[in-house]
């Protein structure tokens, strides 16, 4: 389905080469060349990361081929595996948006994990007194509680950044640790279901409050909502004045202030929106997966979301394919542990390595002439180059 932005880009680059030499075609070619760069460099980093990781495995006497085969079988190879990967991708979409939206303003917010946990907890807390209410109303209020909690939690980080100059990266991660401690306290205290003996958890939701699977699938509605959220986030950042203002403020705060842009409110708004979306992931984990709030809410989705956002270069439309890929890799973790006899942290090593390489890839943008829009579209610039010397991408 949406998994192939990258290949679509590559395909459109090919077709653009063959397009007639009308000005529109030239523009398309210039656009495609620029887009191809944004796809080829992260994909190259991904391939290099898998290569280095294979060497790492081989040096430990494990077979890289077996590893790749297990990733394929555990994450993508069967209908069951695919559904499992999509199920994991759902919260990752929200977690990545929580990083990508503030990134528009040049902020690095890494506290999504805390917003997810508190969002799930807020949804579960609201559900208890609502017990017996109509299902639709209950679900709506649970989602609303999660959205508000997440917006307040990370919006506070944005406000501190905007008006006190507090480093948002450190503050958001501290807030995340505080959120997890708070959630543990409440789940083992006030909100604990006395019947949950071995694993402390909140009261199990009414059956009417559970969010079901998408029609014809076993994946819950969080996936569809997450995809829509990615689309809307793209519209917000690329097609609205608000998104444009955010980008200006991200580029140069002083210039934005001189233009009269409300920089403080933009920062607070975008971080709050990111927090609200991350909290929605927690809501779906509670309402569609666990049925109550418990320690499993702390699953590390927030941290994987950071990696996804950077792999997607903070582009909301690139988030779904990357989230699907990483959801699949994480889904295969159990299988890999059992078959290759390696620790569960194997996937963490791979993710950390990919993260490093993707960041190193940032230095390559603009270094390759192949991707220069001038070469493909801009006639004036192209006049300076040999007309036949344009290499194929």
């Amino acid at each position: 389905m949406v998994a192939d932005t990258a290949t679509t880009d590559a395909a459109s680059a090919d077709s653009a080469v063959a397009a007639p030499r009308a000005p529109a075609g030239l523009q398309l070619r210039a656009w495609a060349a620029r887009r191809a760069e944004a796809a080829v460099i992260p994909l190259g980093a991904l391939a290099l990361g898998l290569g280095l990781f294979s060497l790492f495995l081989a040096s430990l006497g494990k077979s890289p081929a077996a590893f790749l085969d297990l990733v394929y079988r555990g994450g993508f190879g069967s209908s069951f595996a695919l559904q499992n990967s999509l199920q994991r991708a759902a919260p990752l979409l929200f977690a990545a948006l929580c990083v990508a939206l503030p990134a528009r303003l040049g902020l690095v917010v890494i506290g999504g994990e805390g917003a997810i946990v508190l969002g799930g907890l807020a949804a579960a807390a609201v559900a208890t007194p609502l017990s017996g209410a109509p299902g639709g109303l209950g679900i709506a209020l649970m989602a609303l509680a999660a959205l508000l909690t997440g917006a307040l939690w990370l919006g506070a980080v944005g406000a501190l950044r905007a008006w006190r100059g507090v480093n948002e990266t450190i503050a958001s991660l501290l807030m995340s640790y505080i959120a997890i401690a708070l959630a543990n306290h409440l789940i083992e205290g006030w909100l604990r279901d006395p019947a949950s003996l071995n694993k402390p958890s909140t009261r199990t939701l009414d059956e009417a409050f559970r969010v079901g699977p998408l029609p014809g699938l076993e994946v819950h509605w969080g996936l569809a909502v997450g995809l829509v959220a990615c689309l809307l986030a793209w519209v917000l950042t690329e097609r609205t004045t608000l998104g444009f203002a955010a980008r200006i403020a991200g580029g140069n705060v002083r210039a934005a202030q001189i233009q009269g842009l409300p920089v403080g409110r933009l920062i607070t708004g975008f971080t709050a929106l990111g927090g609200a979306l991350a909290a929605l992931a927690g809501f779906f984990e509670v309402a569609a997966v666990h049925g109550n709030a418990n320690g499993s809410l702390v699953a590390g989705y927030g941290y994987t979301g950071i990696l996804i956002a950077f792999l997607a270069r903070q582009n909301p439309l690139a988030i779904p394919p990357v989230a699907f890929l990483l959801g699949g890799i994480e889904a295969s973790s159990g299988l890999i542990q059992r078959r290759l006899h390696v620790p569960d942290a194997t996937i963490l090593v791979l993710e950390g390595l990919l993260f490093l390489l993707v960041l190193m890839g940032e230095t390559l943008y603009g270094r390759f002439k192949v991707f220069s829009p001038h070469l493909w579209g801009d006639k004036q610039a192209a006049a300076g180059l040999k007309p036949s010397g344009a290499p194929a991408p």
Binding site: A162, Y303, F355, E362
Partner: protein, 312 residues
């Protein structure tokens, strides 16, 4: 014993003693990481990855101590591994357009991932511990003796903070680090290789963070598990801002944070079990409060290296 007139049941006094003793015990990793980060930030770069370095240092020290039977060999390996992580950060950062904050996050995940990967086999076996000096033998109160059981690394860290404070002001190397951190242009004009100074400063920061990790696994809490640090490396980075990039102030700030970290266990030891998780969150809340109190929206902070604002 002494003029202290304590009742047989120490009550609140024992909480206070436990917090003081805990401050000394818990503060050492904060101290080493914040001293390391001070060196790095004074050169104009920020390394958020020290959390990962701390965790990897803890694992490598523990594993080495188990395998060789020597706790000090563990400290050496942890310092070496930390230095390698620091050099990796410094080396990648010199590539144009690589964001040092994002890179720190990547190294945080990578360092923790590697530590969990290789550390799986060392959760069970027990390692030799670092030695401590009993400064409390004059007292016949067990609580006082426990509080004044001071580890050698704490003393080394205290001496190091004085030394760094002196060296940054009075030595040629200290001057070069400060010039590079305050103005890249001035440093270039004077013929210093800015990237190389920062590379070495980040490497030195990594060494200290690795040693801080060794303290975690080889003395207090004195075992290796995956939750051993849970953000202490990151709090130490925040603490550097609070300490205004001054090594001596780092020492005081580390003691304060150590005390906050010791509050939960101290209350638990006298039977206060209510709100355990909330006391456990005390250091995070304190760090956040300190960040809010010491940050400023308009002007650079007093003592902040000039290049740091641009790096952020």
């Amino acid at each position: 014993m002494s003029g202290l007139d304590l009742p047989g049941d120490l009550g609140l006094w024992s909480v206070l003693l436990a917090v003081i003793g805990g401050a000394i015990r818990v503060s050492t990793p904060f101290l080493f990481v914040s001293l390391g980060e001070t060196i790095t930030e004074r050169s104009g770069r920020i390394n958020l990855g020290l959390e990962g370095t701390l965790v990897f240092g803890a694992m490598s020290a523990y594993a080495t101590a188990v395998l060789t039977g020597s706790a000090w060999a563990g400290v050496a390996v942890a310092g070496l591994a930390g230095g390698l992580f620091g050099l990796l950060h410094g080396w990648i950062c010199r590539l144009p357009r690589v964001n040092d904050v994002a890179l720190g996050i990547a190294l945080m995940l990578f360092g923790s991932g590697l530590a969990f990967f290789f550390g799986k086999a060392f959760i069970q076996p027990s390692a030799p511990q670092l030695p401590a000096i009993p400064f409390g033998n004059w007292s016949d109160l067990a609580q006082v003796r426990a509080a004044l059981q001071i580890n050698v690394l704490f003393l080394i860290g205290a001496a190091l903070s004085v030394f760094l404070w002196w060296a940054l002001r009075n030595t040629r190397i200290g001057l070069v680090v400060r010039i590079v951190g305050d103005s890249t242009d001035a440093a270039r004009a004077m013929g210093y290789d800015v990237d190389r100074v920062r590379l070495l400063a980040t490497g030195a920061g990594g060494v200290l963070a690795g040693i801080g990790g060794a303290y975690l696994s080889l003395y207090y809490p004195g075992s290796w598990n995956e939750g051993i640090s849970s953000g202490q490396g990151l709090m130490a980075v925040a603490l550097v801002v609070f300490a205004r990039w001054n090594p001596l102030a780092c020492f005081g700030a580390a003691l304060l944070f150590g005390g906050a970290g010791a509050l939960g266990p101290a209350l638990q030891s006298v039977g206060v079990s209510q709100g355990y998780y909330l006391f456990y969150a005390a250091p995070y809340v304190l760090t956040l409060g300190v960040l809010i109190a010491t940050s400023s929206p308009n002007h650079a902070l007093a003592g902040a290296p000039g290049e740091l604002g641009q790096a952020k």
